[in-house]
Amino acid sequence: MSSEYDIAEMLDVKGQSCPMPIVKTKQAIDDLEAGDVLEVVATDSGSISDIRGWADGTDGVELLEQVEGDDQYTHYVKKTD
């Protein structure tokens, strides 16, 4: 499923819980260039709502897609500027 996007970087936050997936995502996005897509793989079920809320409330990022697998949640976040 990751082939759909040109992934600049993958962030593995499996096994980590709130607020780590958000904080680590933010830090990873800060290190990317505008236009880059970050793939975030989490096991925290709260990350679906949290990453969506964070992306909505933060300038310069766009949530492309969230994929729910078996106990695994994959998020695609694009840095827009």
Partner: protein, 194 residues
């Protein structure tokens, strides 16, 4: 209602010339520019006052602070009274959970008051936190500081507890009091007392 007849409220006003309108527009534009500058780039600000130093109560302010920083909010956490122990490098590693007075504890208060019960409850909670992949207090403090959260230690409480400014994590702000906290609260979009 007709739209092409200047009547009603407008008719009572002084005659509006083009120059008047231009002047008004300029004035409004100036005002909007000031408002936009005052509000920054729509950045929000949050101030938390952390007054509790038990193991469980240390988490909410740090979790909210580090998350708000991920939203690019400007965050101040003012630690006072027992909340000061969260920033105290030695004490923060030894915060305890109280087994007494918590109706959710799986033991009656009479039993929870026995010696060693707080330590046991704390051990159980630490184990759960570790198993759940929840960050430690130290990790959350490091993360918060790294992200620019202003962790402040109330000077009055430092003096009251007989602590030294060097007892706190590097990067903690000392030499601040209630007036500073109030100033930040007044400027904030979100204010919380924990």
């Amino acid at each position: 209602m007709s739209t092409d007849t200047p009547s009603g409220a407008d008719a009572n006003d002084e005659p509006t010339t083009e120059a008047d309108l231009v002047a008004r527009v300029e004035k409004l534009e100036e005002k909007v520019a000031t408002l936009e500058t005052d509000d920054g780039d729509d950045g929000k600000k949050m101030t938390i006052v952390a007054t509790q130093g038990s193991f469980d109560m240390a988490y909410p302010p740090l979790i909210l602070a580090s998350t708000a920083a991920a939203f690019d909010w400007e965050v101040v956490v003012f630690h006072t009274f027992w909340g000061l122990d969260i920033l105290h490098e030695d004490n923060s590693k030894d915060l305890k959970l109280s087994a007494v007075g918590n109706p959710n504890m799986p033991m009656p208060n009479a039993l929870a008051a026995l010696p060693g019960m707080d330590a046991m409850a704390t051990r159980m909670m630490r184990k759960k936190i570790d198993e759940n992949g929840t960050a430690t207090i130290e990790e959350l403090i490091d993360l918060s500081l790294e992200q620019g959260v202003d962790l402040q230690a109330c000077q009055m409480t430092i003096d009251l507890m007989g602590y030294d400014e060097d007892d706190f994590y590097d990067g903690v702000t000392t030499g601040v009091g209630a007036a500073t906290a109030l100033q930040h609260m007044a400027e904030s979009d979100v204010q919380l007392l924990v």
